[in-house]
Each structure stands twice: as structure tokens, then as C-alpha cells.
Symmetry: C2
Subunit: 304 residues, 2 copies
């Protein structure tokens, strides 16, 4: 089952020719979740050959332009492509007010409807839930209300072993009960060990997105043990005062969060334009947490 | 003296990975005029290594999203870069109303001011004039009010030949008079031929931008004899009915305009996404007007 992240844009507010403003696509079993929507998203989606029609949910972490200026172009293009299904946008409630006059003027004949969902910036909240995936938002700490997002696969049922079905002559009802992890007793009344009965499914995978935020340890319980954490790393640690005052994180701090939350891997982005060479940011993070990486626009990261 | 066009975006409403929505930069003696501002302009400017601070004038042909969705990102970035000088935006008066709430929300602390100039969609009008260049707008015919733009270098003064200064012992006052093309008489009272006195400057160059528009012959007097004409060519001529109903032009029609206006060269853009191969559009145009070209994003066209 697919669980992969495509980075569409990874720079801070000032884009470069190689790094667009923040946007990512998370593909969970062919559900394409768009996380933030910086300017140029639709061109980046084209470059990455992502089917526009598969995007039904857009999560906007906060209302700074580098995280949402690509919305109007994408919305307009989806209509030109004849979209019919509802587009769900999760954001601060102000977004709806800001978009309304633009939509009225530029997209008066939109081919589909938009449903806005207002994020909760105080507490963790489940914002999407289907049979395969749960999406939760949780508060970050930036200059304006900002949410992080956590995407978790749902646990799958175990597969009952063919040899167990044969050996114990299991009925359909017994198989369903075993899949639901109910104890099974053989004809002598002994409980059969569970691993003799089933093949366990792969462990559910998870991905957390944290940008923009200052160093904010209160996120740790929310992201604990995720397979992959994307965390902003705007500055080197020597600029930690600037990071704090501007509501951003240093590479060192991002790695500390990753280490203390015991995540599988840290992906860093949202780099300040002052750094022409990003290797020092990587080194700074890896000194704290070895499995740190700098993301690249256009790269697909498999979450394993 | 520089007179060159950089194409930043050249597609119609649906951008591709290789063609962004409409935007161009015309460099006239280091004045950088931005013509239309489709999404992604700021990234394209970076790729083309154009200095953002040199852009003081933006001309928006009409208020369809693919010609102006890049404005808010560019305006925001110019402020992050600390711009001080006034930014002049020439557009339909509605633009100011559409931008106001976005600017208020996203750019409350803009480091510079914006001056809007309302275009005249009824008649040709001079909209900018300095010692080097004149910019005029003129009406096109599209689904919404739309202007074309004409950029003309001003004629330069001739240089008085050194040998003439020596031969006739010209005073400063006489030299100024000759530069102003006043007749000069030698000591015997004979008028000296002008080409014996001066070296003529290069002929002033000109560039016209016509997009979006249906086939509209009334533009011909405005663009007559320009060195380079950019004209939209959205469709092949077999779709001329669609071109007309959607307010666009076919490649054949664009070439007829170029031929009948006796321009030096035709640059075509704004191609419909249905054409994966654009060579047939080029062939169709060249059958009518040999000096037709398809523009490419990121290419610089010297106007000679």
C-alpha cells in the first residue's frame, strides 16, 4: 500500500529558482492529501505528474502567503479541468473570507463546490477519518495560529494462516473472530498462541508535518514515534534568537524534537534564503539526530 | 542600448510543467517592464536571474487569473526584499478592489506603496512616457475588457560628425542646433547636406503585446511596423469558430495580423493545452507570414 510524500515546495517565504514555497502531497493508498499550497503548486504537480483529480483534501497550516498563495490558481485550474467532486479545505476560518471575493470574481462559474473546515488551534483534533487513514491537526507555535498535521494509517486486520484454518478446521465465524483478535481454543480447550493462528499485518505507518513553528516541545506527544517527521529548520542554531522571535526553528532544535519524539526519520525544509549552502544545517541536525535529511523539491519520499 | 524581451510564461489558462501562465519582462535600457503576471512569476524571475528591484511598472492586460494570479506573491516578496520605491500597476480598475483585502491580510506592513493606474479599454492612450520610452495601451477584443501594449523607444538625437565640427568650426550652439535638425549654412551661405553633418542614430525600436484577443483587425494601425509583435495563437485555424466564441485567435489569424501590419517578426504564445506538438501551429502561421516563431519560457528575444 502506498504511503509516500512528494515535496512540491520547500523554501521559506522567498522562493528560489530551485525551491518553491511550501507544499507537499502525501499519497496514502491513492488518497492524495495536499499539505499547504504555496504559489506554483499547480506547475509543481504537473512536473511531478500527479493527477489533479485525485486531490480532494487540502490542509493549510497557517495563513501566511508562502503557504497558501497557490490556492486560487489550483482552484481555478481544477474548475477548468471540469472537476465535479467537493474540494475540502482545512484552514483557519479567515481563509474563507479572503478567498470569497477572489472566487466570486475569477471563478464565478466554478464546476464544483468547496467545503471549508475550520482548524482548531487550541487542541489536537481528528479532522479526517476513513477506513484507511486518520488525519489529525495539532497546534504549533508561530506568529499566527498554525497547525501541524499527523497522518496515520489505520491498523489492518491480521491474515489467518492457511495451515491454521486446515489444522483446526476453522469456520468462517471463527476466522472472523480470530481476525478481531479474540482468543481461540483447540478441541482440548487449550488457547492457541496468536502467532500460530495469524500473520500480523505490517505496522501502520505515520507522517507528521510541522511548519511553521518555533521550537515547541509540546508537539512531542503528538508526533511521538512517527515514521517520518517533516519539521521546519529555517535557521542555523547560531541564529536561535532570531528563530525564536520570528517563530521559527533551528536545525539543531528540529533534530532535538525528532530525537526526543523518537521518530524514524527527520525531513527538514523551509530554509532561510541566507543559506546558499545547506550542508551546515544538515550537519547541525545530524549531530543531534543522525537520521536527518534536507528535502528537495520534486523528490518522492517513501514512508516505510 | 538594451531592448529585449524575456518570456516568463507563455501558456494559456492551464499551465504545463514547461509553460507557465502569461508573463513577460521587457527590458528597455534597463527599465524592466513586467507585462502580465501569471502565477509563478517570482520563481521565473529567479530562474531568469532578473533583479526584482528593477521592476517598477506592471501592465496587466486583463483580469483573468492566468494573467494576474502571480501578483500577490510578487508584491509580497518585493516587500520582504525591502523595496521602497512606488510600484506602478496598470490594469482594469477592478484589480485594486480585488487586491485590497489580500494586501490588507497578507501584506499589512508593505514596505512600499502601490499606485494603480486604470487602463482605458475604449481608446489608445499613452500610459508611460520618459526620455527613453513611450508605453501605450490600446483595446483588444476578448471576453472581458483587455488591452494590448505598445512599447516604443524614443528617437535619439543624431551625433554631429567630428570632421564636420572641424571643417566648419562649429560652436556649441551650432552643434545643438544641428542635433535638433535645424539647417546649417556654410560661410558661402550654402546649406550643408544633413548627412555630411551628422551620423544618424539607430532607428527607434518597438514591441507590441497582444493577448488575449480574438482576431481583431482594428489593432493593425496601432501595431503597424513594430519590430516584434507578440500575438496570442491559442488554436489551429480548424478551430476558428471556437477561437471566435472564446475570444481567441488562431495561428493563421495571428500571422495575417502580423503580415498586414508589416511587423518585423511575430512571436506566438498562449497555446491551448490540447496541442502536445506545436509545430503545426508554427507551420500554419509561417504559411502566411514567414517570420513567425513560437515563444519558449525562459528565452530572451533581442528586439533589433
Amino acid at each position: 500500500m502506498t504511503f509516500s510524500l512528494t515535496v512540491l515546495g520547500s523554501n521559506s517565504a522567498l522562493p528560489t529558482s530551485e525551491r518553491y514555497p511550501t507544499a507537499q502531497i502525501l499519497n496514502v493508498s491513492e488518497r492524495f492529501f495536499l499539505i499547504d499550497c504555496g504559489e506554483g503548486v499547480q506547475m509543481q504537480l504537473r512536473k511531478c505528474r500527479i493527477n489533479f483529480s485525485k486531490i480532494n483534501h487540502i490542509y493549510i497550516s497557517h495563513l501566511h502567503g508562502d503557504h497558501c498563495f497557490g490556492l486560487i490558481g489550483l482552484i481555478s485550474t481544477l474548475s477548468l479541468l471540469g472537476r465535479r467532486g467537493v474540494l475540502h479545505i482545512y484552514a483557519h476560518e479567515e481563509l474563507e473570507k479572503i478567498m470569497a471575493p477572489q472566487l466570486e470574481f475569477f471563478c464565478a462559474d466554478l464546476s464544483y463546490s468547496i467545503q471549508y473546515h475550520h482548524l482548531n488551534f487550541e487542541n489536537k483534533e481528528i479532522i479526517y477519518d476513513d477506513k484507511r487513514v486518520i488525519v489529525e491537526s495539532f497546534p504549533l507555535s508561530h506568529r499566527v495560529p498554525t497547525c501541524g498535521f499527523l497522518f496515520r494509517e489505520k491498523p489492518k486486520e491480521p491474515n489467518v494462516r492457511k495451515e491454521a484454518i486446515f489444522k483446526y478446521g476453522l469456520s468462517i465465524r471463527e476466522i472472523v473472530a480470530i481476525k478481531n483478535r479474540q482468543p481461540f481454543f483447540d478441541e482440548k480447550g487449550r488457547q492457541v498462541p496468536f502467532d500460530e493462528l495469524v500473520i500480523e499485518p505490517p505496522r501502520p505507518r505515520s507522517y507528521a508535518f510541522c511548519s511553521d513553528t518555533k521550537y515547541f516541545r509540546r508537539i512531542i506527544p503528538h508526533i511521538e514515534g512517527v515514521n517520518v517527521l517533516y519539521h521546519e529548520a529555517t535557521f542555523m542554531h547560531e541564529l536561535k534568537a532570531l528563530a525564536k522571535s520570528s517563530g521559527h526553528t533551528t536545525a539543531h532544535q528540529a533534530a532535538k524534537i525528532a530525537r526526543d519524539a523518537q521518530v524514524g526519520k527527520l525531513l527538514m525544509g523551509h530554509f532561510s534564503n541566507r543559506y546558499k549552502d545547506l550542508k551546515p544545517l544538515l550537519a547541525e541536525a545530524q549531530a543531534v539526530f543522525r537520521k536527518s535529511e534536507l528535502v528537495q523539491d520534486g523528490t518522492v519520499y517513501e514512508i516505510e
